[in-house]
Symmetry: C2
């Protein structure tokens, strides 16, 4: 192998740079980059990921030449630092860290202080004049190296340390738990080191390595091995990290922040990661190591004076106390502070993003150990991106790419206050985001009754059905014991923008007793309950919530998003309220209006049931006649709300049995109300029962066999369009037939509908084109899309059902195996949440290509639940869709994902 | 238009011939052909189908030049016949008949005697000396022409005729119903004609056309119009007749078999259409018209002396009486008879097929009016084809193409005796052919008990489930009230070769009362019932049956079939008995052995239930250990029965709930037997309940989540293979994983199975390749077939499930709309019976092409129910499949269909 295996950085020059992440890992590339741009970084070198790859390919042997390269770089490092590796008087100590191209917490922990041994300890103590610090460093190294690199069980070290603490406790007359690490003095630490050595020899059968190079190669091998340990493999699987060669190994000279009061260590952010405010922010500790800042033994101090004062005010610390006990770095080391500010400015400008940095000050000298793009809240993410564009640091496209679409969800829904107490009693599926608090109620009717009295309720059901719509609409949130992410409750809740925790199987709901039990907690009807739809947590009692605050940055960014893409975003909305909300969130049309929900409202259900129970077509037509004006009214409102935008109305879809009651009691009531024998109602329900309703008598099959339903709905749509058009509304209706599998079904429906449309428009003297199109949700429709495109004016992919049929998964039943399938990696994600691009998506691609060959300008969209999922939105863009449609609350997210897809595609070219 | 519009035939020469069916229609082409080869045919001419096409394209106007062409041909016809059209003294009368390229009963009836009018009647009466005959011909013409060509309602003519008969009745003093047409004398007929004319003028507002040419053009137009009448359109839709130009019109000189005792008319077949025997067969009547032979007013006489004597013997007619009253044509007109025999020999030799002929003898002169390939029984079809090959008339490929594969079914199953009395009480779906007679029994257990006592039973169930296998196996036949052609009962019955009538929804089964009611007939348990699985008829009582007789011709033809094709036929068989039968019928392997049926036998179900109820994997493994030796034994028997042939074994497929009892009583029994609380059993059943079991936890999903099941089954298969191999059996096992939708599922299963296979073979020192492959039955598998083919060694299309998921039809529920879909022509056939080539088939084509690109030699077959359906078999051949697999009884049919597909493909090239 001719490739360079090791890359040096130090003395203001590095062999690598930030573009070499794949070869040097993220950490290595950034250390090299910082060195190159003159940031003070302790010198070191990086063994490449290619070496790791060769190590595995070569049956866990190092490639020829590696040893020489490492030795050469050690020599360079010694020369750069003016110290010698393994030298007892002027020892060079190093840290060894793993670092792949993607950040991977699953891999090896850091080993610090490598190169130390009993001889070095002596010389180093002499040099630093701080024997306790040096012996502690030795103890820490032995523990880290023994555990991490040599597989000596962690607790064997802990036992020895605890025994030493017990001894100190006896000496001091305090409890052993009150003894801190820092209470061990030099002698104590020497005893611990001796005990470590003894134990190590017992466990490993040989002495603890004292040779610095032996230690180094042990650490390097440990890093390589950690690449394929179970945790790392699992982490890569879960996070879908693929195509990496391996991990790099970073070997870097140690610097110490714990060498006295002119030493310190800290972490800082170039802007506030919580709010996004452009203000330097960070914490530090004098005479401390990095882990001390994290461990919480001492209270970290603010870096800036402003920050320090604010902290003091929040914690009721007087200015005097603050200055004495918790002064800022700006005050304690004003020179170093200035240097720090200068560097963080340079780094942010250089990386063009908010930086998360680690630094150490060793005896007044500042070193940077790490810089990376900082993690941030959704709110901060938005603010930083927009402000950086305004500052001219980045362009709009970069800003758009910076924001994780899913993060927008946080911005649109109320959340529980951070840090507030909560009693989590169960965890279900996070089916619809947001925080809900209300009184437990077990039926939709009760929910409506209590809501009428001004009470806030949470609807708790084993599962929901379309009958529950009214109750869901007034509830603060919905909790179900059964059903997945695309169950009725979840789908409707998302559309309503209501928090929902679904499929919470650990709770037991007793309708009779009107209680809900989780573990040993039982809540009665009327007790308060809190749901976190973003996490799936169910809490007893009333947890305090916060309303979302949308800033001007939000609409600025959304505006940029719309400019960046050609794929539009519509919303799935059935009511004028939903439609209005969808417009507010920037939807430019309705992609799916489900008409069946209108059939449940008020006493309409009576007419629907009359229709279902009718003996013949005449009876059905009479019942439909009652429904038609109500449907027309609904459509008029919807069209008015969407003035100027297209509205796709899907004709009746669910199987008829969903409209009939299923308990004997309800059936008897219905029979009495309809004045028919109970037997008749019961028989009708029985006859409508299906073994696999998913594949049964529904969708356009209903509208074909009972074509009078189609006629009524088409008639209501056209009449509504004419009525609002006459009022000056710009109405753009599209009529959509569901569940078409065969072009002849669609032809039949068009033959039924077109004459009604044409005649009514002609009679009214209104000039309007009403498109007739179809859902593509049956695999056969996708397979024969070229035939269907000949007569369909638009396609809308119903990816929920298309996934069910293409994969053969019933979404209601797949809980028995689908989670295991995702865990085993058969599917990267639950295919009901993230579109299965390799299967369902392949079929969609086939369908679109063939359809567009027949009808080049075919309007194509998606209205399944996937339409609001960022990965799927990006995929839809790649398929050339005209729009995606999703629930109103996900519209912003989809607009951003659409923009990102467009930008990424452009950047690829 | 430069094309010839009219083709003449007559005087031994015709302008057309038999190859011109598309242009002249079937009838016209054959009349021309007969004329050309010197058969005496009344002269005439044919207006082409192109003229019909132009007539419609040209807004129902005749093309220029047609009138002249018709007139020219009339002149030719007059000259050939020596008579004149419309001439009162020597009139030429003609018949007008429609005739498309395909026989189409939906089109126009024949018009006879055209050219007659009041003047002609006089001259013609004088010429024939038979005024009654002539007036009757006039009356008939008016009625036919008025009704068929002029749209005068049929009953208006009938009323007049009935009034005339009433008058005759009064005159004769008999009841009006006893008056026959022939009782009307010349004067009566003259009055009828007069009344017809009066009525015609009232209805149509003008006189009945007396001009011969006016009549002719009216008739021509009527034929053209009949091409697009509702009946004809419907007929073409139903019979899938497409691509025809239109109908031809045949105009032919009339000949009369009713001109006295030297005249006669008859129909005859060149061989016996019932048995296929090579013996001339036919009937005739002296002094009669064609319709008299059909009408049954007089008893038709046999044409041959042999036939006549046989008829007399069967009808107890003495030789004297026979000679006097029913002599054969051989006796009455020996010269004409000889001529007839000569002509039928020539026609059969010429057309190389058994001929169905119509002839008329007018005053001693023989005319042929029609010849066509004769319809025949399945038995005759087979005999004629094989004998014609032996006689050197046709080659083997022609013989193979002559036989309708479905007809073979008739030959393999018992039938009810023809003409035997039967009391049909209901009609269901003809789900599995054959005749069954036995005592009604309502449960599988009872069926087994009664069968043990030697009683023949018919199992009557609302629907069947795998638990009923034992009872089905001992029953003569199966009757269900619910379920379609691919319901459990139907599928299993076909595989067992047992008659089954399924989905007979008009019967009411009362398990409690142990009765079955259809209309007002009620049968109790133990009463006899008869099922005709070929027609779907259900009969009360015991109807006499006939066993099928297979002749040497059958195996001769099957041998030819196997030589003609490369696509093999395997059988779906689960037991050694089925396997043996499959071999007898010529299967060269098992394409599908369903292992779940083995799980029900004897007390194995106990172990299965123990496995399902087990708390953990250890419990499941313990139960599986009990099952393994039994499974191994089954496989050993199957492998032994199929020595030398491949056997595909499918691992466990159905959802687990099918193995548990569903009534509370049974569950309590099971709980007691298993010594577990009833609640546990009940909860297990509840937890296994699914909303859409079709898309649920079954197939390889079970074998993945409970991989110990896979391990047990694979282990049993390999152990069995080793055991029989050691006994000298040539065993070729293939292991098939069901319901794979994702290559990663298959990879998981192969990773589980391959080490077991390899280790066991290695340990046993046996050299054997066991192929591992998969069903393709989930659309996603078809879509990603290229990925799957990389690791699968064979594919078997499970077209039942593939159809369900691709079309989105639950086969158990589709009764609510699928029949209407087929009726409306959305699907040409029920897609569960005949593969939906345009949708499911397109997906299969896509899957096969992509898979073979990855693995050229991939073994591909079909094991769904469609594998035994001739159209599908032909389609599978076109897809390049290696084999089809079907139930044993359909193997011969599939072999023939495979041969036909190969021959047709070859002929196309």
């Amino acid at each position: 192998m001719g490739n360079q295996m090791v890359y040096f950085f130090g003395s203001g020059k590095a062999e690598g740079d930030k573009t070499m992440k794949d070869l040097l890992g993220g950490k290595g590339a950034n250390l090299a980059e910082m060195t190159n741009i003159g940031i003070p970084v302790p010198a070191g070198f990086t063994i490449t990921t290619e070496v790791c790859d060769l190590y595995y390919k070569n049956n866990k042997k190092y490639p020829d030449g590696l040893e020489k390269a490492v030795n050469d770089n050690i020599a360079k490092l010694e020369s750069a630092m003016g110290m010698k590796f393994g030298d007892k008087n002027n020892p060079l100590l190093v840290s060894v860290r793993s670092g792949a191209a993607s950040s991977m917490p699953g891999m090896m922990d850091t080993i610090l202080n490598l190169g130390i041994n009993e001889d070095v300890v002596e010389g180093f103590s002499a040099k630093t004049g701080n024997a306790r610090f040096v012996w502690d460093a030795y103890r820490r190294f032995m523990q880290m190296f023994g555990d991490v690199a040599m597989d000596v069980p962690h607790d064997k070290f802990e036992h020895i340390l605890e025994a030493a603490k017990e001894k100190v406790a006896k000496k001091k007359g305090i409890g052993p738990k009150d003894v801190k690490d820092t209470d061990l003095d030099v002698e104590d630490l020497k005893e611990v080191v001796a005990a470590y050595k003894k134990m190590y020899k017992e466990v490993k059968g040989k002495d603890f390595p004292s040779d610095a190079r032996e230690q180094l190669w042990g650490a390097i091998e440990a890093v390589f091995r950690s690449w394929n340990n179970d945790r790392a493999i699992k982490y890569r699987q879960i996070n879908d990290i693929r195509g990496l060669l391996g991990t790099a190994v970073n070997i870097q000279a140690m610097v110490f922040g714990n060498m006295g009061d002119s030493s310190a260590t800290g972490v800082c952010f170039s802007r506030n990661p919580a709010t996004g405010e452009n203000k330097f922010y960070g914490e530090y500790l004098i005479n401390a190591q990095g882990e001390d800042v994290v461990a919480g033994i001492r209270t970290p101090q603010e870096i800036t004076l402003d920050g320090s004062k604010e902290w003091a005010a929040n914690n009721s610390v007087s200015e005097d106390d603050r200055k004495k006990k918790f002064p800022s770095l700006e005050e304690t080391m004003p020179v170093v502070f200035k240097e720090l500010v200068g560097i963080k400015d340079r780094l942010e400008k250089h990386y063009k993003d908010m930086q998360d940095m680690e630094f150490t000050i060793q005896e007044g000298k500042l070193y940077f150990l790490q810089t990376r793009n900082g993690k941030r809240t959704a709110q901060a993410s938005l603010r930083i991106a927009v402000e950086m564009v305004n500052e001219g640091v980045i362009d709009k496209e970069t800003a758009l790419l910076r924001i994780e679409p899913n993060a927008l969800d946080q911005l649109l829904h109320p959340t529980f206050q951070k840090g507030a107490k909560k009693q989590v009693i169960a965890k279900g599926l996070n089916a619809s985001p947001g925080a809900a608090v209300g009184k437990v109620v077990f039926s939709a009717d009760e929910a409506e009754a209590m809501a009428k009295n001004g009470e806030k309720v949470v609807l708790v059901r084993i599962e929901t059905s379309p009958e529950d719509i009214g109750g869901m609409n007034v509830a603060q949130g919905i909790l179900t014991a059964r059903g997945g992410a695309t169950s009725h409750a979840a789908v409707v809740a998302r559309q309503m923008g209501k928090p929902c925790v679904a499929g919470c199987s650990t709770i037991h709901i007793d309708y009779k007793a009107q209680t809900i039990t989780a573990g040993n907690v039982t809540l009665k009807k009327g007790d308060f309950i809190s749901l976190d739809g973003s996490t799936g947590e169910v809490m007893a009692g009333s947890s305090p919530t916060e309303e979302p605050k949308l800033t001007g940055n939000f609409s600025t960014l959304m505006g940029w998003a719309d400019e960046a893409t050609t794929m539009k975003v519509r919303a799935n909305a059935d009511t004028p309220t939903d439609a209005k909300r969808a417009r507010e969130y920037g939807a430019v049309g309705i992609g799916l209006c489900r008409t069946e929900h209108m059939f449940f409202e008020g006493n309409r259900i009576d007419s629907v049931r009359k229709m279902i129970l009718a003996e013949d077509e005449a009876g059905r037509r009479a019942a439909l006649k009652e429904l038609e004006p109500m449907q027309q009214g609904d459509f008029e409102q919807l069209f008015t709300a969407m003035d100027g935008y297209p509205v796709i109305i899907r004709l009746l879809d669910p199987p008829l049995h969903e409209f009939l009651p299923h308990t004997e009691k309800e059936q008897k009531e219905l029979a009495a109300q309809m004045k028919v024998p109970f037997e008749k109602v019961h028989q009708k329900v029985e006859s409508l029962h299906e073994f696999n309703p998913m594949l049964g008598f529904r969708g356009c099959r209903l509208g074909i066999i009972f074509s009078e339903i189609t006629e009524m709905q088409v008639s209501a749509i056209v009449n509504a369009a004419i009525a609002v058009k006459k009022k000056g509304i710009n109405v753009i209706p599209e009529i959509m037939f569901p569940l078409v599998g065969n072009v002849k079904e669609l032809q039949f429906l068009i033959d039924k509908s077109k004459p009604i449309v044409d005649q009514k428009l002609k009679d009214a003297g209104v000039n309007l084109h009403i498109m007739l199109g179809t859902m593509i949700e049956v695999p056969r429709a996708a397979v024969t899309s070229d035939e269907i495109a000949k007569i369909a004016e638009f396609f809308s992919f119903g990816t929920n059902d298309l996934t069910q049929m293409t994969c053969g998964f019933s979404r209601d039943d797949s809980g028995s195996f689908l989670p295991a399938y995702v865990e085993k990696g058969f599917y990267d994600y639950d295919p009901f949440q993230v579109l299965d691009q390799g299967g369902v998506g392949k079929l969609m691609n086939f369908a679109i290509k063939n359809a567009r060959e027949v009808r080049k300008d075919l309007e194509i969209g998606i209205c399944g639940e996937h339409g609001g999922e960022p990965k799927t939105v990006e995929f839809c863009y790649s398929l050339g869709m005209n729009y995606v449609s999703c629930s109103p609350f996900r519209v912003p997210l989809a607009r951003l994902a659409s923009a990102q897809a467009a930008i990424k595609t452009k950047n690829k070219k």
